[in-house]
């Protein structure tokens, strides 16, 4: 376990973050953008747990941050999906390019 350097785990979470960012940039469908945001939040969680485990093993702050981020991500996903379903009801589309009424 100790033979895997910390930087490799951090590079894994960095790669996951930027894959999520790529999805956020290229997709125009709201549900897939929400999925990309979930990937980004997961990479941040990995970082918190790894820093807590390897650098400050006598504390628990990273674990608490991870738990709170998971709770807020659940609330965020629920609200986002409610908004998406409402938008689909009124516009028959969940493409972000077509929801331009609040643009100006």
């Amino acid at each position: 376990m100790s033979s895997v350097p910390i930087s490799h785990i951090l590079i894994l979470s960095t790669a996951l973050f930027f894959i999520g960012l790529y999805g956020l940039f290229t997709r125009r469908n709201m549900i897939t953008m929400l999925m990309a945001i979930e990937l980004i939040l997961n990479s941040v969680n990995i970082n918190f747990v790894v820093f807590n485990k390897y650098l400050y093993p006598e504390k628990l702050d990273g674990i608490f941050f991870t738990l709170f981020i998971i709770a807020i991500a659940a609330a965020e996903a629920a609200v986002a999906i409610a908004i998406i379903i409402n938008l689909y009801r009124s516009h028959k589309s969940i493409d972000v390019e077509e929801a331009t009424e609040m643009k100006w």
Binding site: L12, M35, N45, K53, P57, A78, Y88, S90
Partner: protein
């Protein structure tokens, strides 16, 4: 090269591959299933890091809650067999360039920063997590805990209010179509009902 090192790299490849398919596949249902596998891979990484509590929370909330919610919304809003429109090549190249530059910069900084891991064991337990989370003294997390519970309540009420169908919506494009459909439907039913009435009248 021990077994745990090999397991770590297998988990890493699994997470990144599933995430890559999740953001690039053009069928939205497949995309959500790849997201499910990626989140399961992250849970496996937590098991590998020996923080089983976070792994259990990850599986219960992400895999069991959020992905199911996303799949429900896919079924409610999309024809899941249909492919999404292709991303324009210019946008694809530009975002790929931006993402690769960001990744290179961050990975370089992470790689060159010399992290010094301590050899002390990571002493977490569910007991300790619970005690510290509800502790009101220094280092306790009672206030954030309460704030998060208020946030969850607000999100619950907000979801119900947003998703509730209001009876008198202002006329928008989709609603107008619905109204015209409704009115045509009701008028046709009335027309169908009319002869019945006249027949009854005729009978009477």
């Amino acid at each position: 090269m021990s077994a745990s090192v090999i397991i770590f790299y297998i988990i890493a490849v699994f997470i990144l591959g599933a995430a890559l398919f999740a953001v690039t596949t053009r069928k939205i249902f497949r995309s959500s299933i790849w997201l499910l596998f990626s989140l399961l891979g992250v849970a496996a990484l937590y098991f590998w890091l020996q923080v089983e509590f976070i792994a259990a929370v990850q599986i219960a909330i992400y895999v069991g809650g959020i992905v199911v919610l996303i799949i429900f919304s896919v079924f409610l809003t999309q024809q899941s067999g249909k492919e999404m429109p292709k991303t324009p090549v210019r946008r694809k190249i530009a975002s790929l360039l931006a993402v690769l530059c960001g990744f290179a910069l961050t990975a370089l900084i992470v790689y060159r920063y010399n992290f010094q891991p301590t050899s002390k064991p990571f002493a977490w337990s569910v007991n300790r997590i619970g005690t510290e989370m509800l502790n009101t003294g220094t280092g306790g997390f009672a206030l954030p805990f309460e704030v998060v519970s208020m946030l969850l309540l607000a999100a619950l009420v907000g979801c119900i209010v947003i998703a509730m169908r209001t009876p008198a919506q202002p006329a928008k494009k989709g609603v107008e179509i619905e109204h015209s459909k409704l009115s045509s439907f009701s008028s046709s039913t009335i027309e169908k009902e009319k002869p019945v009435i006249t027949e009854e009248g005729g009978v009477l």
